[in-house]
Symmetry: C2
Subunit: 246 residues, 2 copies
């Protein structure tokens, strides 16, 4: 029986991948992932069997990976960022647990990676720092009503809010709805940071505010971080004070 491991490769650059993640990939016979992520780690894959698939094919991809391990090959599934945050950790583990115990591939666990929200925050300054909520605006697997409810409650709780998948062609207006919901409970001057491709070559970072941030370029792979009532911007850096007297 082979082993299956889910590996978070971090935001993109090799400098942000942990030694544990690198070793898991180096040790594997088969590497499975979304084509874009496979591309990011291509130099590591020269001698490997590689299974890359397109977007929206997560279930097929992970099934192939688990089968590969069940057939005796040590296999890793790679996710960008941390595989446990909107990544493949859960899906792979669910598929592994569906196998009867005697045919189940060995679960090699999840290797944590630098999550996209932490990478984005480090580019902006120190915008998280305090209690925060992470919400994906993708309604592919979650009803839009529930997403809106979560945004509203996080807004009322004065959480710093990090948005994943803030915009796509099929739902260009969700981000405006989110803005509307938050403007009902948070000042229009609240700082908002938008980071796209953190730690990759094309990294882009903009600091705006709640009343205007939707005018900026926001894509499917942007992370949007909305400050709490204490967050401020100085010299271009976004800072949420933890509360120390300085």
């Amino acid at each position: 029986m082979g082993k299956i491991t889910v590996v978070g490769i971090g935001p993109g650059s090799a400098e942000d991948m942990t030694p544990k993640a690198k070793k898991a990939i180096d040790d594997a016979q088969v590497v499975v992932g979304y084509n874009t992520y496979i591309e990011l780690i291509k130099p590591m894959l020269a001698t490997k069997e590689v299974i890359g698939t397109g977007m929206m094919q997560e279930v097929d991809r992970c099934k192939m990976a688990v089968e590969s391990a069940a057939n005796g090959k040590d296999t890793v599934v790679v996710s960008s960022g941390d595989a446990g945050v909107y990544g493949m950790a859960g899906l792979v583990l669910e598929l592994v647990l569906q196998y009867p115990a005697d045919k189940r591939p060995e679960w090699g666990g999840t290797v944590a990676g630098i999550s996209a929200v932490n990478a984005a925050a480090s580019v902006l300054g120190a915008p998280l720092m305090h209690d925060f909520a992470v919400i994906s605006l993708s309604d592919w697997l979650t009803p839009w009503e529930l997403i809106q409810k979560r945004v509203k409650l996080a807004g009322e709780g004065d959480f710093v809010i990090a948005l994943y998948n803030p915009k796509s062609k099929s739902r260009p207006d969700y981000i405006n709805e989110v803005q509307k919901i938050l403007l009902a409970c948070r000042d229009g001057k609240t700082p908002v940071g938008i980071v796209t491709g953190a730690s990759r070559e094309q990294e882009n970072c903009v600091v705006s505010d709640l009343a205007h941030f939707t005018d900026e370029e926001i894509g499917m792979f942007s992370i949007v971080i909305i400050g709490n009532s204490q967050t401020y911007v100085q010299d271009g850096y976004m800072v949420t004070p933890r509360g120390y007297k300085v």
Copy 2:
């Protein structure tokens, strides 16, 4: 003028520290941190000037670090996990920005690290996976009323909830209050994972449920992850489905 950089060293093991973090420490002349974290990376510090201080001395420690950089020495401040999540990134950046521009040390930025919540999640299986809220129960810098409010709102929003600093000698009962608040809106059978010292030698992990988890050993450095309404436990693993049909 020296450079000041804030570095997240990850949960503790060298295998979880990114090459970027390692390089930042290697390049520095002075390394500043809480004694426990300094101990974790001691093998890297042989030729360095080291400033280690105890708990509750964050402001003094960070002031010393910024002064060290202002005096011309390249300095790093280390935080465990990710320095941008209840770490030193914000405090150091605030202190740097207080310097007049012509005397200000160069801001080397924050190097993201594997956050404690991601490390804890990887030990438990795949408990985050979906929208989640991160809340610290420490009332040292945050009013307890606000913490309770956030717990309640996150509970109502069916967020997965990750608790930092869940217990200390001065507030042994807060975790019971949190349990009470969440039992009002979430089933007592909701899985709860408790991870202490993730990725360190003394790593300890327990899976319980919302009605009983307060009977388990929980310390100041434990991370408690409370599932959402979809989270389940199978074969000891805690899984929050993303929603894929499998």
